[in-house]
Amino acid sequence: MLASTAVLSQLSAAADCDLVTRAVAGREDGFEELVRRYQRPIAAYVYRMVGDYESALDLTQEVFIKVYNSLRRYRSEFKFSTWIYKIAHNSAVDHLRRQGGRELALQREFDGEQYDLPIESRRPSPEQESERAERRVEIERVVSELPAAYRELVVLRHSHDLSYDEIADVTGLPLGTVKNRLFRAREVMRRAFVERGITGV
């Protein structure tokens, strides 16, 4: 299974390069196909980062227009997905900064200190939701309440399956910081799960 995943990812990387070449050559279908391929993961990532639909939609558009404008500067020795996540990361961080930057301003303090999530009263989940879905919503909520500096690492790792190296490339953080923040984020989440009565984690 691992081998087939590797082959698949190689194939998709090759296809990405091919699409980039076609887009740079002015072939319109190349770029549109790239957008189609990455629109869902990028929108999901941006949405988890900024937390509201309208901004996420605008930002996703902005990301792809930036991608188009800098396609010429893309070099194929980097993975295309890492490159596009990096552009999305920069857009999301800029947006959060424009929004007030409160979250990001704290970023540096987290590395040396303990951080507790604000305790929010548990909102009742709709009764018809299965226990499993309910649990997923709770976990998603805990993640969404993490400070941006932690949240994005958790999302890139567990939702988009990026390696530590790729996360370091995307965020521009040193590898050691990525490793450390991921660990700290888990500690914060674990405490939040206990506070919310989510067991078995």
């Binding site: 869902r40 929108a43 999901a44 939609l57 996703t60 490793k179 991921l182």
Partner: protein, 195 residues
Amino acid sequence: MTAVPDNSVCAGEEVVAYLDGELDARALARFERHLQGCPRCAQALEAEKLLSRELDSALATAPAFELPKNFAQVVAARAQSDVSGVRRPAERRRALRLCAVLVVIACALTGGAALTEAVLAPLRAVWKLGATLAGFLGHALYDAGAGLTVISRGVGGRLLFGSRAGGVLVLLLLALALLMLRHLIAGYHRARALE
């Protein structure tokens, strides 16, 4: 790398990195050796495994985020229609040629009068304006040159009189205006791109 005592891997970070498959061969061997004799780490590993499983399963599903159906098409069209900066020079030249051909055809269709009115008159006006500007620029440059010569002669005081100082000032203002114009154009393009 210096040898690190084995119990340093109890840091917790190592447990998570191990679980994420992010330890290099050496760190991996060291951690696995350590794991056999450390019940605390074995327990932490089980706990982290559970947490990872929960996070993976909760976050693997994309959030309820509906993109408009024609999103890719709209974004591609918008990206391609905007940015002139990305177009290759060859493509720009082709577009210019096409425009010229279209103008000629339009003129042929509407007759000579249209040619004089619609094309030549504005062209003449532009030419006149260009000539005026060039003259102005020439004067300013001449004045600046003259001013510099005067300075080089060591009689900078004379700059205060007559049109030479004015020339230098105008030249400086012109340079400033050009810089600002570039900035404005860039800003406009950026705003359009993000619109």
